[in-house]
């Protein structure tokens, strides 16, 4: 068993880059899936609505860890081995899509119906109506809970450690196996996650308060 040194701290910081990158890719992927789900969930077609409802139910009603395993092993099964990095991005994106889809559905539905009727009366079709009238107003409502969700996303990227991707948590685990100083190592790992997440938590709370003040009648 060896002692901890400054190089180990650097190792954790380097691994943090992967946590950040993974969160970023998953947020982008989840944003694309989530927008599709939110639009399907609020569409006029009952079939699309039900597909979106089913998607949200399944992804919110099963453990994220098992979703990761299914993507990881499902790729192998289809003959496209994805590896830990791509599986993690795909798995987190699919999962984040369900949560963001549900958040954004609520924001779209919070836009007063009169806006949609007015846009229709002006002869705007679906795409310009959504892009120019509904989504800009919905995004204002959506931002605070979306920022709050990013905190969850960053925390959940730690699960990539379990399918063997070396991000912050896996790096901590490896260090712990070599030095066996769990409180120090996981204390530092927790502190790094806290530094990543807490500013977002505070921002989300502040934005929420500001939105509540501005929409109060």
């Amino acid at each position: 068993m060896r002692q901890l040194n400054a190089g180990d701290f650097e190792f954790l910081l380097l691994a943090t880059r992967w946590t950040i990158l993974l969160s970023l890719y998953a947020a982008i992927g989840g944003g694309i899936v989530g927008l599709a789900i939110a639009l399907m969930r609020t569409s006029a077609s009952a079939a699309l609505r039900w597909i979106a409802i089913g998607y949200i139910r399944v992804f919110q009603g099963t453990p994220l860890l098992l979703q990761l395993f299914l993507v990881f092993f499902g790729g192998d099964m289809l003959g496209i081995p994805l590896g830990a990095w791509l599986s993690a991005i795909l798995g987190f994106s699919l999962n984040a899509g369900a949560f963001l889809g549900e958040i954004w559905r609520g924001s779209i539905q919070a836009v007063p119906n009169g806006q949609i009727e007015a846009a229709k009366a002006l002869g705007l079709h679906y795409a310009p109506r959504m892009l120019r009238v509904v989504l800009p107003q919905a995004s204002r409502i959506a931002i605070p809970p979306t920022v709050g969700f990013l905190v969850n996303l960053i925390k959940s990227t730690s699960l990539a450690a379990i399918i063997g991707f070396v991000e912050l948590t896996r790096a901590g685990q490896m260090l712990n196996n070599a030095t066996f100083r769990p409180f120090v190592i996981f204390g530092i790992v927790s502190a790094i996650y806290f530094v990543l997440c807490w500013p977002l938590t505070v921002t989300s709370r502040r934005l929420e308060r500001r939105l509540a003040l501005s929409t109060r009648r």
Binding site: G61, I162, G172, F183, S190
Partner: protein
Amino acid sequence: MDYVFHFGDIWAARDELIDGTLLTLRLSALAMILSLIVAIIGAFARTSGPRWLRGMVAAYVELIRNTPFLVQIFMIFFGLPTVGVRLDANTGALIAMVLNGSAYTIEIVRAGIESVSHGQTEAAYALGLGRFRTFRLVILPQALRAVVPPLGSQFILLMLNSSICSVISADELTAATQDIQSRTFRPFEAFIVATGIYLCLSLLFSGTFAAVERFAFGSPRERRG
């Protein structure tokens, strides 16, 4: 796709899956009850305790909510034995789930307490009830009634998160599934079955919470009439 699904081996291991499911149920139910108790005490301290205690509870909530559950599990399972506390995996899992779950539950219960109008407290004081009895008899029942839906979703998340405890080999459903897949080399089939079981459990839980809301607290629709 030329993959042939093969569920025979999984069916042969059904006893392990059932045992795992039962342990997941027991672990989550126990964690829910304990974290609700911790949360009620915590929320009381957070809303009407002395200043230093309020600060401590707030710090605890922020620390837990801004770090991953997996790291918390490692901290408990690998950390506690270094200070002389021996834990088996299932106990470690339960402690981690309660510590994590209660931070989220404290915030929910606190929001419920704050939603009860101040007039209720004043009326209770005017009737001569002390601070503690006011909390227990007047504030808490109304607060809990208001937060049944968010509590329900929080508890379902807690149940789903219990799958993460498989990393310290608590023998719940996910760990049982890991065993089965490493023996049968049928990972996709094993995990799809386990995922299906979790989905059933979360539907079961949300049904139960809806029933609790209806029967224990009376549905809002009935009360309005």
